[in-house]
């Protein structure tokens, strides 16, 4: 991590209200060379998404202040932020959640608990596309 060019480091915005969960994911992502920005609720998440130019957003469905889908919809329906890939995280497994996700246009969907490798694979795949 020390020798890397700052421009190479991809910035991931993590929007999730459980602080310990955020910590665990942050440690994992940083160990893989990503820079991590945190947001503890939907409103802060939306704000940081618009102002800090993340390369990818990890967004939990259940958030205080503004629902995950609401944040996702606002970003995806705005041409400026639409290209940023969004991974939705959820503890729920309803089919309706997945349908909602597709309707809004999120790029991937993960159910907690998930394996770290799965998350990392999806991130690599989505970042390669952009």
């Amino acid at each position: 991590m020390g020798g890397r060019d700052m421009a190479d480091k991809k910035k991931i915005l993590l929007v999730e209200d459980e602080p310990e969960f955020r910590l665990g994911v942050r440690m994992r992502l940083e160990s893989k060379g990503y820079e991590v920005i945190e947001a503890e609720d939907g409103a802060v998440g939306l704000d940081k998404a618009r102002n800090m130019a993340p390369d990818l957003i990890i967004l939990d469905v259940m958030l205080p202040k503004m629902e995950g889908y609401q944040v996702a919809r606002l970003l995806k329906f705005d041409a400026k932020y639409k290209p940023i890939p969004i991974i939705m995280l959820t503890a729920r497994t309803q089919k309706s959640d997945k349908d909602m996700g597709s309707a809004v246009g999120v790029d991937a969907y993960l159910t907690k608990p998930f394996k770290a490798e799965e998350l990392l694979e999806i991130i690599v795949r989505l970042l390669e596309k952009t």
Binding site: G24, M27, R28, T93, K112, P113, K115
Partner: protein, 510 residues
């Protein structure tokens, strides 16, 4: 117009409201009831629907004797009118001679009993009223119990859903931190530490699977599992499952084969759930088959079904376990040796999913001889062909029914048998949409056959129409699980009318 004064209120008296416009019939019935000492009746008489309504609304009436052909209403409408507004009051219907068919219909719609007026005698009427009151109480209690049970089932399902969501996040956090340490993200670990942590991670995954399965099972039991049934190529699902499991079986030196005929008709089912069932069955087969053993997947058409099976040559299942193996949380491996423990829910869910897809599941196994788990799925039908099975031990009846059916304009596939037991066997393969069943067969009575159908057969058994010359069977049929009743002798029109009404309902449900 209220013709008689209201009675004194007394606890031991049965208060009857007679809705009858023929004055002499009314007087006759009044006389019959007033003669009774035990029980004692108090009769009020009205001659039209409106005052009848009014009297019922004031309350205090235990039972209504209702003539269907009143001046301000007609036939079935009269009863429906009353029953809708007063669903908890028992009704006994009085019919004129030529209304007998109609009377049978209103009983089916919820009236407690019926009488043809000219055949009425006091003993019969008194008995009918007493029984009607008893049946009504029982029926209300049953309805309330059913409502409460449905409520409880929904509550349970919601609770499981809530609990499982709440469990997931802390579980995710535990898994993530343990795996961070295991993966040496926060510093080096020695091998022994890695092993410990790996074990912790595996069990987090076990917990996750258990939560997912509990949620599925609760959803299924509350009737909230969403399935998309459509034309499906089951051979493709089998091949996908085969490809998924190939690496795992290779690693253990197990041989995995599939047996699929070149031309296979499509099934009518939800591909996701059928894949889940296959994954469960093949996973079990791998688990319970030793290294070097053999597992086969196959499917073929069997009658009106597509049969799918997974066979292994593993240790087999002893008879005591075979009975319980589809029960939730029953773990075969708990008592039977080493290997990673499962959730105990897989087969329970698999069986439910197969049944929700209109099929049924079974197992064939003996200790030391391996196991074969099979399930049937209904075939995809492009045009609606209704399959009818006629079960009656009188040849003439069978021929008559066939003649009537062939004379209808419907697209029918008809089978028949003189034996109730054979009927059960045929139905297993034929999957009839409608079974026309005689109540009074000599070898095994129709009612017994009916309960066997409902017990042993999967949910997609279809409708059952009972035939009988015996009016008493009328009262039992609904409780035993028949969907409708046809009194012999009947005309072609009678039969076809019943058929059309029963099958239309069936078609929408499927």
């Amino acid at each position: 117009m209220l013709l008689e004064e209201e009675c004194d209120v007394s606890a031991e008296v049965i208060k009857v409201l007679l809705v009858e416009d023929d004055a002499s019939d009314a007087a006759g019935i009044r006389r019959m009831l007033e003669d009774s000492q035990n029980p004692v009746f108090c009769i009020e008489i009205v001659d039209q629907v409106q005052p009848g309504f009014g009297r019922l609304t004031s309350g205090g009436i235990d039972i209504v004797l209702l003539n269907l052909s009143l001046p301000d209403s007609q036939g079935l409408d009269t009863f429906t009118h009353f029953n809708t507004h007063f669903p908890y009051v028992p009704f006994v219907v009085l019919a004129d001679t030529n209304d007998e068919d109609l009377a049978i219909r209103v009983v089916k719609d919820g009236a407690q009993d019926y009488f043809v007026k000219k055949d009425l005698n006091r003993a019969q009427l008194v008995r009918a009223i007493v029984y009607a009151l008893q049946r009504n109480v029982a029926s209300i209690r049953k309805q309330q119990t059913i409502a409460r049970l449905e409520d409880l089932s929904e509550t349970k399902s919601q609770f499981v859903a809530e609990a499982s969501h709440e469990l997931r996040t802390p579980l995710a956090i535990v898994r993530e931190f343990v795996s961070l340490v295991h993966d040496e993200v926060v510093g080096p670990v020695v091998d022994k530490q890695k092993e410990c942590l790996a074990s912790a991670i595996r069990n987090c995954d076990r917990l996750t699977e258990l939560i997912n399965k509990m949620l599925d099972l609760a959803k299924i039991e509350a009737g909230r599992m969403e399935l998309n049934r459509d034309k499906t190529d089951v051979s493709r699902l089998l091949k996908l499952c085969y490809e998924d499991f190939l690496p795992k079986t290779r690693a253990r030196g197990q041989n995995l084969f599939y047996d699929i005929p070149d031309s296979l008709p499509a099934a009518y089912c939800d591909s996701n759930s059928v894949s889940n069932v296959l994954i469960n069955l093949v996973g079990n087969a791998c688990k319970f088959t030793p290294d070097g053993g053999t597992i086969r997947l196959g499917c073929q058409q069997e009658g009106q079904f597509l049969a799918v099976w997974v066979q292994d040559n593993g240790r087999g299942i002893p008879p005591e376990a075979k009975e319980k193996i589809f029960q939730a949380f029953y773990q075969f491996d708990r008592e039977n040796g080493p290997g990673a423990k499962g959730t105990g829910l897989g087969l329970a869910i698999a069986k439910h999913l197969v049944e929700l897809n209109g099929g049924y599941m079974s197992v064939d196994s003996e200790p030391g001889k391996g196991s074969k788990f099979s399930f049937m799925l209904p075939l995809y039908q492009k045009e609606a062909v209704y399959r009818i099975l006629i079960v009656d031990d009188e040849e003439m009846i069978v021929r008559t029914v066939m003649r009537y059916l062939n004379g209808s304009k419907l697209n029918l596939d008809i089978k028949s048998t003189f034996s109730g037991l054979e009927g059960l066997i045929i139905a297993g393969q034929f999957n009839p949409d409608l079974v026309i069943l005689d109540v009074n067969m000599v070898e095994v009575g129709g009612m017994k056959v009916l309960s066997l159908f409902r017990e042993k057969m999967y949910q997609g058994c279809g409708k059952v129409l009972l035939m009988s010359g015996d009016e008493n069977a009328l009262k039992e049929y609904k409780e035993k699980g028949a969907d409708d009743f046809l009194a012999k002798p009947f005309t072609s029109a009678d039969l076809i009318k019943k058929l059309v009404s029963l099958l239309k309902i069936e078609r929408r449900r499927r």
